[in-house]
Subunit: 228 residues, 2 copies
DNA sequence: TCAAAAGTGTTGACCCTACACCCATGG
DNA sequence: CCATGGGTGTAGGGTCAACACTTTTGA
């Protein structure tokens, strides 16, 4: 077959990851300090180039694994960024992804990148159009967290109601009413209340819960839709 | 500056457009019949390759203008598709866009492409991953139509309440109650009721409306959010 | 016994849905 | 005068937001 495409322009394709974490108080993003040109020394999203043999999802996965050592992380593609001179070295298209990771997992951040967690409202300014990507990621996360039970990706497997509420407050950027929040969550009926208590935060101790994914899936296939 | 990127793989980048239209009854998409390889004779989305000198949005715009002759069309990027062998000729990344066009505009469909309008539920099967793109586009359109006043892009500038309701019914894929719909739309207070009537559909005639974009913008900057 | 966080229900306001009849007109 | 689509309002149910006190226990 003759190649009809041979006269078309090609481009470098990158993926850039907005990596969200939660420390029981603030929503954070993981940034790296570039020790290579261009923009050496500036803060940046973690990224990498798409290889011929992999999909975008696989590239994002690889990039993330390289930085955090984590597998099976929640990753969602956001959109493509394509300003012609967004990267001064060469025309590079970038596909932004966001990832949700549980900071308390034994995450071994690769020291090669001088990575650091920042509160989303205290992050330094970023290279290229990365700032714009972060803004978009936050808005997508806000939406998604209200329509899919993805919040649990950011929490340890066992968590308290307080932690869950703090997480949603951090994502949504607003305080929520404790009783209303708990009533709503309980109404969804997708959590499992354990017999175990977390004794770290109070003398009384607070019950631990887990997300019951099987029950959630069963309910979904029965017409249920998560709605916070 | 030395080029640090020179060993990285490059890829062809395409844009593919899901072009929506509305004929006062059904939501439609515009497909082209390929008269070139690969997949000659099959139905496909309209697409084209990204050039070095343009952004993705500009490429989508160009592709759309080439097919329909239209400028200033509502276009929104959806996401990238990247299966390694999605195009059998060469590794090609595609960014899907959807467009909303008003069929009654003097649209001159370029005959070079043997394009044809199909009801969204009666479209033929498409090449590559275009089917998947269409599904995603419909779901994004459904969401967007409930949170942004984009429906008007699919209607003539002057329209009746009946047309607007039929449009939303077509987008959402469900029948709506006439009085509730009208109450809700009037509650938004972003339409201008004209003195003019459309006499084509009934003896009594029905009032024409236009979308009052200025009022809408003013309300938005005053904290209002469109919600159907 | 006291400090500190956990846990627990109710009420009023508002919004959404269901629903049916009269109007205006051209033929 | 009649057939056809256009236009209009209300009542009941459900959902959401506001709100405060009691419990537990380690120090």
């Amino acid at each position: 077959m003759i190649n009809l495409y041979k006269d078309e322009d090609k481009a470098l394709v990158a993926v850039d990851c907005i990596i969200f974490g939660f420390d029981n108080e603030n929503l954070k993003i993981l940034l790296i300090k570039r020790d290579f040109e261009p923009e050496r020394g500036k803060w940046s999203l973690m990224g990498g180039f798409l290889k011929k043999s992999e999909t975008l999802d696989e590239a994002a996965d690889r990039v993330l694994r390289h930085l955090t050592g984590l597998n099976n992380v929640y990753l969602e593609q956001l959109r493509g960024y394509s300003k012609v001179d967004r990267d001064p070295v060469e025309r590079t298209l970038s596909l932004a992804y966001y990832a949700l990771i549980n900071i308390s997992d034994h995450t071994e951040i690769n020291e090669e990148y001088s990575a650091k967690w920042f509160n989303i409202d205290e992050a330094p300014s970023l290279i290229f159009d990365h700032q714009e990507m972060v803004r978009y990621a936050i808005s997508r996360l806000r939406y998604r967290a209200q329509t899919k039970p993805i919040g649990f990706e950011l929490l340890p497997q066992k968590f308290t109601m307080k932690q869950l509420q703090s997480l949603y407050e951090a994502i949504l950027g607003e305080k929520l009413d404790k009783r209303n929040f708990i009533n709503k969550i309980n109404g969804l009926d997708i959590l499992l209340k354990l017999d175990e208590k977390d004794m770290n935060s109070s003398r009384k101790g607070s019950y631990l819960y887990t997300f019951d994914e099987l029950k959630y899936r069963a309910k979904v296939s029965d017409g249920f839709t998560f709605k916070l």
